[in-house]
């Protein structure tokens, strides 16, 4: 089948953006969200969901696969304007959240392969070509990720004990005392840091053993996350859906056991971090 299938609401509620007309207009830009098996196209879940440009999202089928996509205005999403728009962090956030909403909604009942954010094709032909050229990769990823979810675990160094108030420079405190004290402080700080890194390593090893896959993201920058504490581990783990509860419990146990660390669990996510083929993951520990 190579025809486009429009979800009912997309077809009826948006006469002004008549999907058939959009399909014929070769210049139409289509924003791609995720790839699913043709048999797993969500029937109704996406009807109330709107995409990155407020547009309805539908499935375009080809070769047993389907890509969830929506038409987006060239004024915002063609290469040049998009480049400019993405420099606007508020606009970027809107796109990111809409993208995730579509992926999450579709992924609630079925296996989805998320597409990298800001992937824009020319027309439905472009979407179908994307499915054709990526067919083997998509199929392999769907087989591998069926029934799996991604959990995010971040480890932060618990805040350091308050610095000792600098002793009043008294007549009794010699320069040698001062240097000795400074050096002791430095040693304590180094030890704390080693302790934190060892703890993070233990957390990662324990969770990796429980998971089918693990991937490290770079630690988050304090200035972006707004977290006061230093992020020492920013990892994603691929876990069979039915093992999620056990995994989350284990994270809780680790959090209780590792003094000096703070753990944060996020998820379940669609398997964003695991769509690349095994052995091709970019950040193995």
């Amino acid at each position: 089948m190579t025809d486009a299938t429009h979800l009912p609401e997309a077809a009826e509620a948006t006469e002004t953006t008549a999907p058939t007309a959009a399909a014929e207009a070769t210049g139409t830009l289509e924003y791609a969200y995720a790839v699913v098996r043709e048999a797993d196209i969500p029937r109704t879940a996406l009807e109330p969901v709107r995409g990155v440009a407020g547009e309805p999202v539908r499935a375009v089928r080809h070769l047993g696969l389907a890509v969830l996509a929506g038409p987006v205005p060239a004024a915002d999403f063609d290469a040049e304007p998009l480049r400019a728009r993405l420099e606007d962090l508020a606009w970027l956030e809107g796109v990111a959240r809409a993208h995730q909403r579509v992926v999450d909604t579709a992924g609630a009942d079925t296996c989805v392969i998320p597409v990298r954010m800001a992937t824009v094709c020319r027309g439905e032909d472009g979407l179908r070509r994307m499915l054709a050229t990526g067919r083997d990769r998509f199929t392999a990823a769907l087989d591998r990720l069926e029934g799996r979810v991604e959990w995010g675990v971040k480890v932060y160094a618990a805040s350091a004990p308050a610095e000792e108030p600098p002793a009043e420079p008294s007549a009794a405190a010699s320069g040698r005392d001062y240097l000795r004290r400074r050096s002791a402080q430095r040693r304590a700080s180094e030890q704390r840091w080693e302790h934190t890194e060892e703890g993070a390593r233990r957390v990662h090893e324990t969770l990796t053993a429980l998971a089918e896959g693990a991937r490290l993201h770079p630690p988050q920058d304090v200035r972006l996350s707004g977290e006061a504490a230093r992020n020492v581990l920013n990892a994603a783990y691929l876990v069979p859906g039915e093992d999620s509860e056990v995994f989350a419990e284990r994270v809780g146990e680790l959090a209780g056991r590792e003094s000096g660390l703070r753990l944060e669990l996020t998820g379940p996510w669609a398997p964003y971090s695991f769509v690349a083929a095994e052995g091709n993951e970019r950040a193995e520990p």
Binding site: L29, A32, A79, L82, R83, L86, E87, L89, L92, E93, A96, R97, Q100, I113, P114, V115, R116, M117, A118, T119, V120, C121, R122, G126, R129, M130, A132, T133, G134, F138, A141, E150, G152, A158, P218, Q220, D221, R223, L224, S225, G226, A236, A248, G252, A255, G256, E258, L261, L263, E264, L265, T266, G267, W269, Y272, S273, F274, V275, R282, A283
Partner: protein, 66 residues
């Protein structure tokens, strides 16, 4: 010492961008689509993000290749 599952909370943008910008299937690497150059446009967001604030070094530098 605590865990804070985000199941029903607003997801932090920084966590979302970790996944949306570094995860997901990348289509550009595909030879066929690269030949059909106008067929597909994918924007490299990393450079743009870092330009949001020149004082913030891009945390995404060096993600693509180990």
């Amino acid at each position: 010492m605590t865990t804070s599952p985000l199941a029903h909370r607003q997801i932090a943008l920084v966590d979302l961008l970790d996944r949306l910008l570094a995860g997901g299937v990348v289509i550009t690497g595909d030879v066929t689509l690269r030949i059909a150059d106008v067929d597909l446009v994918r924007i490299d967001l990393r450079a743009l993000i870092s330009s949001v604030n020149e004082n913030v070094p891009s945390p995404w530098d060096g993600w693509e290749e180990p």
